[in-house]
């Protein structure tokens, strides 16, 4: 797009927590793929007289998410009722938080700068409508298994200006909740639902645009990316034609590859929020909040920096190894074993990054054995190797020429030729690296 408009983008993300039980009852919160309405009770069915009792684990996890996002944690917090009618909403209101969320005013550091977090609050999920044709008639069926599953809503300020930053933020957020081990953050299962709001501001204008378009319930990062790009283009065209885009809620249609209008804001609900009388205010002392903070695990960024420092890894390697906590933990365990066998952390890292190690199957100690085996056979005299490589290159001039002309995959053929000449098992990766260096010089000689 040209520079006439600046996209103003904010984001609401719903993260489903992986607590054992639901937010306000003792039903299992694991609803995915279960027989409809098999995980229900009077409370999550909203039967007359049923009352909510909040799940302490969920609240503490919500607070920890807030802390991981650098939020101020409110010592005095409460639940509120958000009243609206929808068939999947058992009680006629959603128990949520309005003016005193657990976390407020945080931030997430992206490459380009900070994204401010407005609030992190706790609420419950709704049931699910299933539209089905039964004997030729169409029915809407309700499955309440999801009703009452704990949800944390994370709202940013409208600090994003392009889709890439949004995706960077989302990946970061996903990594954070996974590190905290509070959500599987599995997009396909709907553990993370994304709602960007997008508007365009004329360059030089102060203040936020007078309209806002929300795109609801997107369940993949790439759809968010596409939806934002689509919206920017769509809104720009409207603005160029001298009109203002309509304030509305849209949805992402992956078949049309477009956002489509769902609800125009004039029809917006007045949710009549008021304090949930069935749940007393939630009070946490400074001390309790501090204790929760101490429970926070080392998060990805810190771990990455520590890996660079403690293990002399490149930032790139450290980043890959720390994307998932299970991998990072595995690496550290393996690196400890490696040290006893005079192997470097870098060797372990290389194996983990390139070697397709199944960290859930292979014990770290076994990985080290494997590395040692491959390094043992690697013992080959450097001069001998250089000679073999040179002779292979001389004998395969066509391949060398192909490589030089950019057909880099041919290097694997050369690796094979070298290995055949060595006649013992050596680390292919090592030969490849050596070949690259010699090929580089080989070229400059000609």
């Amino acid at each position: 797009m040209n520079n006439k408009y600046t996209p103003i983008i904010g984001l609401e993300v719903h993260v489903e927590l992986k607590t054992n039980s639901k937010m306000f009852c003792s039903c299992s919160a694991d609803y995915f793929g279960h027989q409809p309405n098999s995980h229900t009770c009077p409370i999550c069915l909203g039967l007359p007289g049923a009352l909510p009792v909040p799940n302490r684990q969920a609240i503490e996890w919500c607070i920890m998410i807030g802390q991981a996002l650098n939020c101020k944690i409110n010592q005095f917090s409460k639940f509120d009722r958000k009243n609206y009618f929808y068939p999947d909403l058992a009680k006629g209101f959603q128990t949520s938080q309005y003016d005193l969320p657990f976390g407020e005013n945080g931030f997430v550091q992206l490459k380009k700068g900070k994204i401010r977090i407005r609030r992190v609050h706790m609420e419950e999920d709704t049931g699910k409508l299933i539209h089905e044709d039964i004997k030729g008639e169409s029915f809407s069926l309700i499955d309440f298994n999801r009703s009452g599953v704990p949800l944390v809503e994370i709202v940013t300020e409208p600090d994003f200006h392009d889709a890439n930053d949004v995706v960077e933020y989302l990946k970061k957020l996903q990594t954070i909740v996974r590190y905290l081990e509070v959500s599987n953050a599995d997009m396909e299962k709907g553990n993370m639902r994304l709602e960007p709001n997008i508007s365009l501001q004329l360059q030089g204008d102060d203040g936020l645009p007078k309209y806002k378009v929300e795109v609801k319930n997107i369940n993949s990062f790439s759809f968010v990316d596409k939806a934002i790009k689509f919206e920017i283009k769509r809104q720009q065209e409207i603005l160029e034609s001298g009109k203002t885009p309509v304030q509305e809620t849209r949805g992402w249609n992956e078949f049309k590859n477009a956002t489509v209008s769902q609800r125009v804001k004039e029809e917006a609900n007045d949710y009549r929020y008021f304090p949930e009388p069935d749940i007393p205010p939630i009070i946490y002392s400074k001390n309790q909040i501090e204790q929760l903070k101490e429970k926070l695990p080392e998060l990805q960024e810190t771990k990455q920096m520590r890996f660079v420092k403690d293990y002399q890894l490149t930032e790139y390697d450290a980043e890959i190894l720390t994307r998932e906590k299970i991998m990072a933990d595995y690496f550290e365990e393996a690196a400890q074993v490696a040290a006893k066998h005079k192997l470097t952390p870098k060797q372990v890292a290389n194996h983990l990054i390139n070697g397709k190690v199944d960290v859930e199957q292979l014990l770290p100690a076994d990985l080290i054995k494997r590395i040692m085996e491959s390094t043992r056979v690697k013992q080959i005299d450097e001069n001998e190797l250089n000679n073999i490589i040179t002779s292979v290159l001389t004998a395969n001039e066509k391949a060398v020429a192909d490589y030089k002309s950019g057909k880099e995959t041919v290097i694997m053929f050369l690796v094979g030729q070298v290995m055949r000449q060595i006649k013992k098992k050596v680390d292919a990766q090592m030969i490849k690296e050596r070949l690259k260096i010699i090929l580089y010089k080989y070229g400059s000689k000609n």
Binding site: P48, G49, N83, F93, R272
Partner: protein, 471 residues
Amino acid sequence: MNLRNLTITEAKEGLKNKQFSAVELTQAALDQIKLQDNNLNAFITVTENEALDAAGHADKLITQGEDKPLLGIPIALKDLFSTKGIRTTAASRVLDNYVPQYDATVVTRLKEAGGVIVGKTNCDAWAHGSSGENSDFDPTKNPYNLEYVPGGSSSGSPVAVTSGMSLMATGTDTGGSIRLPASFCNVVGLKPTYGRVSRYGIVAMASSLDSIGHFTKTVADSALVLGITAGHDPLDATTPNHSVPNYNEFLGYDLKGIRIGVPKEYYAQGLDKNMHKLADDALKVLISRGANVIDITLPYSQSAIAVYYIIQTAEVSSNLGRYDGIRYGNDRSYFGDEAKRRIMLGTYVLSAGYYDAYYKKAQQVRTLIVDDFRKAFEQVDAIVAPVSPTPPWKIGAKTDDPLAMYLSDIFTVTANIAGLPGLAVPAGFINGLPSGIQILGPHFSEDKLFKIGYAYEQETQFWKEAPKLNE
């Protein structure tokens, strides 16, 4: 046998001494219902078979020497209390066919205590009302004069107790719905401290005001029942872990050293002359027992009805949202006028742009009312006042004037706003119709209320005056 002549305590003695069996006792209750309820309309559902089964089981346990606080005692439940497998209507046609899958916590506790449920009692639909006339299942009549209201919203329960259809009945008190009908039917009615008794499983009216209590003939019976129903419930987050004493231990004759507050705002304009006299007489009795009576002031009382009708309707509008026609069979057209009125009022006071002026302001005044009482209880142990500004009125007298109906709660709503316990005790008759006084105390002071109520009751014995029912 007539249950009218028995208290729970006496019935337990009779069962223990084999004067009668639990089945005989329950049969007597059921017979009385059959005989009288066509006129009184205290019950929406009578659970004859279940009751006789439960009574038979109780007899077995009694033979085995089992001792439970309500073993074999016929009880009735306001039709707001969820009963597993037994229709629970809230006296609204919206729930005409609703059969709960679960028991309210109080129901579980009463059953575990050995209580025999004879049926579900009538009330104002959704507990909206002060007279019992707003039931979708027709009004309940006052047994002392069938042309008069029994008081509401818990209308059927006190009628069941006072006319010998059960020995105890449950109620809910959101703005006076236990104390007022208790007063109009010559029985003891307890509205416990908010949170003292679990609300789990009881159809909600206004969640921050609803208090779960009961009707008995005597204060001792009331204390006995609270010992069963009170206490923390893991299913109700508003029930604190406050210990439950043996309330009956506090009963006695002597009120020496007890300071009774008389709020001038309750003895002012609008209080019926006869009611005034009845309350004055009650104070004399308390003084004769050794109590000191002290004039106090509760300046924000005048705002209580306004505050109540904002907070209560706001919560009602939200609590009734689930009856949206998708489940429970009957749709929203089955709501009566009063429910619709409260839904509209409540929706209005919570709406964007009006919230601050109404709901928020009401909550602020609520704090002031709480503070009024806090200050008062620095000076006195309890407050005594008439339950209602007038004696029972004729059926139909206020049905066309919602505001007049609302004002009948003027002395009772304050306790709900502040979450305080209140005990209504029979205090005499005006033109043959009963009226009561209420004793209010600080949070969790039920023991003190029972003590005062018991001493008063021992001296007066008004409860013994039975209604004259046609045989």
